[in-house]
């Protein structure tokens, strides 16, 4: 293999998303297995009980033994052997004893003088029986005991051996390597049978989809590529299976200069479209190219050069061609590639995402002399990170505007010391370290971790799930994922919490009146009954959801609407400002809104952000079930229970020690200096256990690296100010945090100086400072890397690897993978 970097390629290989049907199948099989194992273990649990009672009798046995036998503590077989000898001995003794007991009267009688006196034997025996009785009960007494003991071990020993055998079997199953052949075959047969059964079931469910079509297509395309003049052939179905994010990229694999024509490839009836998968969108697009080519009058037969070059450079959007897509199954198109007869390359450009993001300029260095105060609002959203991850996982660099560095930093949980009471919910951690981006600069980390409400203290929640079930949600990563996410959420709620469900599509409707979580099954079945269809009346849905939440308002509890959407609001009030105003008014009444974003291609991030910010909620983007787990289960407290509202941070830098500063990220969260003390100005909210981290890069006074030359004329003024005792020379600046407790409308203040002298920092905090720096570097590089200097992706990987820590959920490892993917994506 003459590849330059197989590691990098290997790192880039990303598995396709699993088929939900296969997932379900595996889950069912595993659950059956689980039930079987549990039943078996209960049975073996019973035998274990027997074993313990046997242990008890063994103790008794030991006590009864004539001598203490230490060898029995050796191997079990030895013990068994010894015991068996003893059994034999004891049994022998019993027999002898019994014999004696029987003969004993005779001996006794033999010595009786009356025997000789009276020569009539019959009366003698009758007379003597009562006399013989006393000794007999004495002797036989041990006999039943003995035999009982004899019986117990003899019976239980096989049981024990059985238990041993089962244990060994399950050991073998665990080790997997030294396995029992028969057992494995059984397992396979079982799995096959189940797979078949489920496949049948699935076929019934999906109206008979499946693999034959693909195979036939393959044959067809092989036939096609066998023909003269044709190099390669790709059928529509193939493209549906391709891992590339869109068909344009698939087509790029075709040698340059080739002409793509469309033609009816096979006479065989085309299979219905493959089950909804990620490739769906691409599939439709591929077809469009073909049918447009046909429409455009290009000769629809393979082998004929067609003037499609100009047409296929551009692709129609999914929605615009919906009607074409519907007709696809009948037309069964194939794209056939032949050697170029035209010079025009026909590789369509990859589709630009239609996801909408707010545009903003990256913060740059500010002169402390000119603007010594930096003010911004806390941001605990994480949507940007998930979105970036999704883009990178599909092999593309994300749009620059989708990268918000602070959201990437705050995606991770850091070990900042937590506050201890709900009254003072924050304790800021300030750490100064050297900047990895520029030698002369320093980084100031400001970390706060919100007070964590313990699970039993959480207030009652009145949640209304507002689900978008419009046609645009019909994709495995949208509605089905949303439903699964909501099911996960139920597991993190208390039984007394209530959940209501409102859906919106063509019309909004209440699916489920608020129902206590104790009645989980009802909620789950309501969720599972949802199916996508129709257009999106987002605004109407929101109104309905608020009505429902208001009707079941819980005083002192959490009243929150969780909106799950792909961001497409195309009916009703769709003006962002109007919606924002609506959400804001409801916020005043105590009903908050959080937004969970799903899907890709049409995602309106800026709207999701705006709604969540105005609704005192978080905006999260859910691309996988793992992310749902993170947001809705692990961080459920943070997502649902606000511990502080309107959290604002303000740092005033000391001109005596700091020449310039730059806030990393938070561009969309900047506040005016005067807003800090104005309680009417809304800012970000922090949930239970949330960590918020901000990083400033500062240039200390006297450092050689200044981005801006010092002002020639302002210098004197600055000097004069320096001479005043404005700030001591041992402080870089002064941090102020303002926040409101959830039920308060006036803010409280926390203050802390940022000291020049390095302070002793615990190792885990130091590690997390490093890791967050790595994340910040990555985010900035994705945005163009204006301020990251000569830092490379490799160095970020190294730094992140070194500071990964325990990483119990694997998020940090995933980050490392993302950096590698970004590296590969950039090189391409």
């Amino acid at each position: 293999m003459n590849d330059k970097s197989f590691e990098a390629k290997l790192a880039r290989v990303s598995a396709p998303a699993p088929d939900p049907a296969a997932r379900l199948r595996a889950k069912r099989a595993a659950l059956e297995e689980f039930a079987r194992v549990q039943a078996a273990s209960q049975a073996s649990g019973a035998s274990a009980n027997e074993k313990t009672s046997d242990e008890g009798s063994k103790g008794l046995w030991d006590a009864l033994r004539l001598f203490r036998d230490d060898s029995s503590h050796g191997s079990t077989s030895m013990a068994w052997f010894v015991r068996r000898n003893l059994f034999a001995g004891v049994a022998g003794a019993c027999v002898v004893g019994l014999g004696i007991a029987m003969v004993w009267p005779v001996f006794r009688n033999y010595g009786d003088p009356r025997l000789f006196e009276d020569l009539q034997p019959p009366p003698v025996t009758v007379e003597l029986k009562p006399q013989a009785k006393p000794p007999t009960p004495e002797l036989p007494k041990p006999v039943p005991q003995m035999s009982a003991q004899q019986a117990t071990p003899a019976e239980s020993a096989p049981t024990r051996r059985d238990a041993d055998a089962t244990r060994r079997e399950s050991d073998a199953a665990a080790a997997g390597l030294k396995k029992d052949e028969r057992q494995r075959i059984e397992m396979e047969v079982r799995a096959n049978a189940q797979a078949e059964a489920h496949a049948q079931q699935r076929e019934a469910e999906l109206n008979d989809v499946l693999a034959t079509g693909t195979r036939e297509k393959l044959q067809a395309s092989m036939k096609a590529s066998g023909q003269a003049g044709v190099i390669d052939s790709i059928t529509a179905e193939d493209i549906g299976q391709l891992p590339e994010p869109n068909q344009a990229e698939s087509l790029q694999r075709v040698p340059l200069g080739a002409v793509i024509t469309a033609g009816a490839a096979t006479p065989t009836p085309a299979p219905p479209p493959p089950p909804a998968q990620q490739g769906n969108e691409e599939l439709e697009e591929a077809i469009v190219t073909g049918s447009r080519a046909v429409r455009g009058g290009a000769a629809p037969h393979k082998g004929v050069a067609a003037p499609t070059g100009s047409g296929s450079g551009r692709l129609f959007r999914k929605k615009e061609v919906a009607s074409n897509a519907v007709t696809m199954p009948e037309s069964s198109l194939a794209i056939v590639v032949q050697p170029a007869t035209m010079s025009e390359p026909s590789t369509p450009a990859p589709e630009e995402g239609r996801d909408k993001f707010e545009q903003f300029q990256v913060n740059s260095f500010k002169q402390v002399a000119e603007a010594p105060v930096s003010t911004f609002s806390a941001d605990v959203d994480t949507a940007s990170y998930s979105f970036v991850r999704r883009q990178l996982n599909s092999g593309r660099l994300p749009q620059k505007d989708s990268v918000r560095v602070e959201e990437m930093i705050n995606y991770f949980d850091y070990a900042w010391p937590a506050a201890t009471s709900a009254k003072a919910p924050f304790k800021p951690t300030v750490v100064v370290s050297d900047s990895p981006w520029d030698k002369g600069r320093k980084l100031v980390h400001i970390g706060i971790k919100g007070y964590e409400i313990s699970r039993d203290q959480t207030p009652d929640a009145n949640l209304v799930l507002l689900l978008d079930v419009s046609g645009s949600m019909d994709s495995p990563d949208k509605l089905p994922l949303a439903v699964q996410s909501m099911e996960l959420l139920l597991s993190s709620l208390k039984p007394t919490d209530t959940v209501g469900i409102v859906v919106y599509a063509g019309a909004a409707g209440t699916v489920l009146e608020p129902t206590p979580v104790a009645n989980k099954q009802k909620i789950i079945s309501a969720l599972r009954d949802l199916s996508p269809g129709g257009s999106t009346a987002g605004a109407e849905g929101i109104e309905r959801a608020y009505q429902l939440a208001e009707a079941h308002f819980r005083k002192g509890g959490v009243n929150r609407i969780l909106l799950a959407t792909d961001g497409d609001f195309n009916v009703g009030i769709d003006s962002t400002n109007e919606l924002k105003g609506f959400v804001e008014r409801k916020r005043e009444k105590g009903i908050f809104l959080s937004v969970l974003g799903f899907g890709q291609g049409n995602y309106r991030d800026e709207l999701a952000q705006a709604l969540a910010q105005n609704g005192n909620g978080v905006a999260a983007y859910i691309d996988t079930l793992g992310e749902a787990q993170k947001v809705l289960v692990q961080e459920a407290g943070a997502s649902l229970f606000t511990i502080a509202k309107d959290v604002k941070l303000q740092v005033e830098f000391n001109p005596a020690t700091v020449a310039e500063y730059r806030l990393v990220g938070y561009e969309t969260r900047a506040l005016k200096r005067e807003d800090f003390n104005n309680d009417a100005v809304d800012a970000g909210d922090v949930g239970s256990g949330h960590t918020v981290t901000a990083i400033y890069e500062i240039t200390p006074v006297g450092s050689a690296t200044r981005s801006v030359d010092p002002s020639r004329y302002a210098k004197d003024a600055k000097d004069s100010r320096e001479s005043k005792p404005t700030g001591s020379a041992n402080e870089y600046g002064f941090l102020k945090i303002r926040y409101k407790l959830p039920d308060s409308n006036t803010s409280d203040l926390i203050e802390q100086p940022i000291l020049v002298a390095p302070r002793e920092v615990p190792a885990n905090v130091q590690r997390d400072v490093q890791f967050s720096t790595a994340v910040a570097s990555f985010g900035q590089m994705l945005r163009g890397g204006t301020f990251t200097g000569a830092l490379t992706y490799d160095e970020i990987v190294k730094q992140a690897q070194a500071s990964k820590g325990d990483d119990p959920f694997g998020y940090r490892t995933e980050f490392v993978q993302l950096v590698r993917k970004a590296k590969v994506a950039r090189e391409m």
Binding site: A15, P18, A35, S41, A173, G176, A191, Q241, L625, D794
Partner: protein
């Protein structure tokens, strides 16, 4: 609620916890299985076997290693079992058909298939090492924990693999330690 609690409850016989655990980890299992074999249907089979095995042997998880490491080990052993069984069955089925359906039509798949077959020629454990270290981004110590060998063995394997894949060390500046 975290993995640990979930596992404990599943070990105690709570099937909803077990189902939740499956939900959480199916993706990981499937994706790794996919990387291991580079084929969707096979990956699904392996993932299903792994899930069943998880049901069987969850009680043996002792919380000594990270659960994911343990899970990787389980998937690997399932995958190996599966492959052995495939080799046995392959002779009965139509080999052409199998090969044809298997032939991945995309660059990733082709590349992966090539790399995987080369790696498995290198010796036992090589493929798994490469997948864990390069495709899953584990450190040598973590990969060692999964495969039950020492960290230095993994380092040696990675080195050998790199050597055999015939590329200069120059660009190996990636942080593998």
């Amino acid at each position: 609620m975290d993995d640990q609690n979930l596992i404990r409850r599943a070990q105690g016989g709570d099937s909803t916890s077990f189902a939740e655990l499956l939900d959480l980890h199916y993706d990981t299992i499937y994706r790794f299985a996919w990387k291991w074999c580079g084929h969707q249907a096979n990956a699904e089979d392996i993932a299903q076997l792994a899930c069943m095995k998880l049901a069987n042997s969850l009680s043996q998880y002792r919380f000594q290693a990270a659960f994911t490491s343990w899970l990787y080990r389980l998937v690997i052993s399932c995958a190996q079992d599966w492959q052995r069984s495939q080799q046995r069955h392959d002779h009965d089925e139509l080999p052409d058909e199998e090969a044809m359906v298997d032939s991945p039509r995309h660059e990733d798949g082709i590349y992966l298939a090539q790399v995987l077959s080369q790696l498995s020629k290198l010796g036992e454990g090589m493929k798994e090492t490469a997948l864990l270290v390069h495709a899953e981004g584990m450190s040598h110590a973590e990969a060692g924990a999964v495969l039950g060998v020492s960290e230095s063995t993994i380092s040696w394997r990675v080195h050998t693999i790199r050597k055999h894949m015939g590329r200069p060390e120059a660009r190996a500046s990636l942080a593998y330690e």
